[in-house]
């Protein structure tokens, strides 16, 4: 007697798997597409700023002015793309976007420095990308500060030894400050929700559209069995995609796996519970696949962009931050990053796991209830 539901569940799952496998394009999209996305994303996301194109306008044209320019460009943050005498032409390059920095050295620069007079170089920045212009400005300022200390050093030697604070910076978890090993785990979280939620929402809506859901209704299957039979195959695909992403991530992008994989696997299952059941919920409130897709998107896009994956949560305004606490993607992204990079475990991450479990149970109950009501 107790075996009947299991047999029924097996039958529904088999039907679902057959249906998915028959459409080879869909199978390809479920497995190959995420892989392509992960690889492209991993290589594309690099927020490091260097090689900022710079136009040098040297009105002084002395050995000293040329030396200072060369030393300023030496660290590679700024790269000279043109040298001109025409300030207007340089500004024009800024307007065209071919250069981001214009460096103007005034006439009499060398003479002023030699006499110990104050002199100023002018730096014009394209502020369109504030991140970039800030880095360029910092690079110039750093050079000025160090060369100033250098200029005064003759004087300093005459004085008694001066106290100095030496700031020793140590960077943990990601000492080379690579963007990829931070982004690839986050992207995996995005891909998982994109695949599982949209596929369930649209797949179930399609069954309703085409009318096959009614045919399943006349069979002796209980709604619980139908739901489980439909969700489990996609959960398996999701877990497979997760392992695939992890393998590619560690192999291609050197993403470390420092924490417990088993723990991460369990948390991923919880996350998938949330994404799959919210897909189910969307299908119960949609009448066409287009509607299901747009509704899914209305939730997925904010969930992704307000998850801290691409931009830090701390950079959001205070009134938006509470919203991130009801975002399952945020919790999962934090867990996957903390486990992989910082070897964190259940003892540090239990609040996140609890939150994810809460979301999962909540969505399953709401979605299953709605689904059952619609069938009954």
């Amino acid at each position: 007697m107790s075996r009947t539901p299991l047999v029924q569940l097996g039958a529904v799952m088999l039907k679902e798997v057959r249906q998915t496998v028959r459409d080879r394009r869909q199978m390809v999209l479920l497995v190959v597409a995420p892989l392509i996305q992960l690889v492209v994303l991993g290589y594309a996301v690099d927020l490091d700023i260097d090689r900022v194109p710079t136009v040098v306008v040297d009105h002084d044209r002395t050995v000293s002015s040329r030396l200072h320019v060369r030393r300023l460009l030496a660290d590679g943050t700024l790269v000279e793309v043109a040298r001109t005498n025409d300030e207007a032409a340089a500004q024009r390059m800024l307007e065209l976007g071919t250069a981001t920095v214009v460096l103007v050295i005034p006439p009499g620069f060398d003479r002023a420095l030699a006499r110990g007079d104050q002199t100023q170089v002018q730096v014009v920045l394209d502020g369109t990308n504030p991140n970039r212009s800030a880095v360029a400005a910092a690079s110039v300022q750093r050079y000025i500060a160090t060369s100033t200390v250098g200029a005064g050093s003759d004087l300093l030697e005459l004085l008694p030894p001066l106290p100095r604070i030496d700031l020793a910076t140590r960077i943990r978890y990601n000492p080379r400050l690579e963007t990829a090993i931070f982004m690839v785990p986050g992207i995996s979280a995005v891909l998982l929700i994109l695949i599982t939620m949209i596929v369930t929402a649209m797949g179930l809506t399609r069954e309703r559209e085409v009318g096959t859901l009614e045919q399943v209704l006349v069979t002796p299957l209980s709604p619980t069995v139908i739901i489980l039979g439909k969700l489990i195959p996609f959960a398996v695909i999701g877990l497979f995609d997760f392992l695939l992403a992890l393998t590619v991530g560690s192999w291609l992008f050197d993403v470390p796996i420092r924490g417990s994989l088993l723990f991460l696997f369990c948390v991923t299952a919880l996350y998938l519970l949330t994404t799959l059941s919210s897909g189910l919920l969307i299908s119960t409130v949609s009448t066409s696949q287009q509607q299901a897709l747009l509704t899914g998107f209305a939730f997925i896009l904010p969930a992704i962009l307000l998850s801290g994956i691409f931009t830090p949560v701390m950079a959001m305004p205070w009134w938006l931050r509470p919203l991130t606490y009801i975002n399952p993607v945020r919790y999962y992204a934090q867990v996957i990053r903390a486990v992989l990079l910082k070897s964190a475990g259940p003892s540090e991450l239990w609040p996140h796991v609890l939150a994810l479990a809460g979301f999962g149970v909540f969505f399953v109950i709401v979605a299953a209830n709605r689904f059952r009501k619609q069938l009954g």
Binding site: G97, N129, S133, I165, D166, Q290
Partner: protein, 379 residues
């Protein structure tokens, strides 16, 4: 002449048929119009790299007036926010793992004495490097602060002899002097949101007709392939244009994005970009005939490239050569160039004509290819 008239009548009839479809599904219409504005508001406020206060933990082994002074310097600047004062650096470990702190400042014992004796003291700063961008910012800010403290000490010790630095720099930032992320991100967001909505709207329409079997009924009528494509495109183009207007208005009004350049360039650019993305959606729909597959293809071909390869957030110059090359065929890259050019840099036709030309070519290509592929399937 008569031929053209008939062509237009048929396109009109198909367009009004599609309009009826759209009007019947009011939720889709509302979402097509409302989603872009809601998303722009949410992202415009939410998407930013400007972290104003980095959570900092301090281990003060010295606990003197001088060490207190140093702590104050860090916290007073608003760049760092003190969240924990610890006894031991080991205690910071769980805080790092939970993401509660991103920086740890360790002041060694004997700090005050060393400073008073004129010795060099090493103060340790430990940063959470997982988010490389934020870690870089934190390092820059901390180094700036240390430099400031040192200059202060030097100035005090030499009683102002070394105060006036001979070499200075005057920095003038054009186009976005306050360095607001919104000015940079809003144009990109506009392109991103429009691309998604446009492709999602049309990628399903033709596939739906195939799935429901109504395509065969359409074949029984005398309409041609180009007429079907244009008839499907026009209603969505109208929706898209309204969405563009709303998004641009909200962007300019809520986020104070200036409009410095030629608005007609922007109008033409938006129009061409929309046609291109709607055409891409139609092409996907024509090729896949299956709504679920069509959406996945739409993700791959529009959503991700527009997010990643368009200069929206991630600078193209830093990417591997293959991706840089790939980004040249992403229409959003040119549209974002037009948006930033017109809105921020005050550009007009003289600067932006190549971008407009590319957008024109892309939209023409999309319409031609989808019409051409459509016939082959008819046979």
């Amino acid at each position: 002449m008569r031929k053209l008239y008939r062509f237009l009548v048929r396109v009109g009839a198909l367009a009004s048929k599609e309009t009826i479809h759209i009007r019947r599904d009011v939720r889709t219409l509302y979402m097509a119009l409302g989603l872009p504005v809601v998303l722009l508001l949410l992202f415009g406020f939410g998407v930013s790299f400007d972290i104003d206060s980095i959570p900092l933990a301090v281990v003060d082994h010295d606990r003197t007036r001088a060490s207190l002074e140093l702590r104050r310097t860090f916290v007073a600047s608003d760049d760092f926010r003190l969240v924990a004062l610890l006894d031991d650096a080991e205690d910071a470990e769980p805080l790092f793992q939970r993401g509660r702190v991103m920086a740890l400042l360790v002041i060694p014992p004997g700090y005050e004495r060393a400073v008073a004796h004129g010795e060099t003291v090493t103060v340790q700063l430990v940063l959470d490097g997982t988010d490389a961008n934020t870690a870089n910012m934190a390092r820059g800010k901390a180094e700036g602060m240390a430099l400031g403290v040192n200059l202060e000490i030097v100035r005090a010790a030499t009683s102002g002899v070394v105060a006036g630095a001979p070499l200075g720099a005057s920095i003038w930032t054009r186009f976005n002097p306050e360095g607001r992320s919104a000015l940079f991100l809003v144009p990109g967001l506009i392109a991103y949101i429009l691309a998604i909505v446009a492709v999602l709207l049309t990628s399903l329409t033709v596939a739906r007709e195939w799935e429901r079997g109504s395509m065969e009924q359409l074949f029984a009528t005398p309409v041609g392939r180009l007429e079907i494509i244009l008839g499907k495109l026009l209603p969505y183009l109208c929706i898209g244009l309204v969405a563009v207007l709303m998004v641009l208005t909200v962007g300019a009004w809520v986020f104070d994005v200036p409009v410095r350049g030629d608005l007609t360039v922007l109008a033409i650019g938006s129009f061409l970009f929309l046609i291109g993305m709607l055409g891409l959606g139609l092409l996907i729909s024509v090729l896949t005939r299956n709504q679920l597959v069509a959406t996945q293809a739409a993700f791959l071909s529009s959503m991700l490239p527009t997010l990643l390869l368009s200069n929206f957030i991630f600078p193209v110059e830093n990417m591997p050569t293959i991706l840089q090359w790939l980004s040249r065929i992403i229409p959003a890259r040119y549209y974002i160039e037009v948006l930033r050019g017109v809105l921020l840099r005050g550009n007009g036709y003289a600067e932006l004509w190549p971008d407009l030309l590319v957008l024109l070519g892309f939209s023409a290509l999309m319409i031609t290819v989808s019409a051409a592929r459509f016939t082959r399937r008819l046979a």
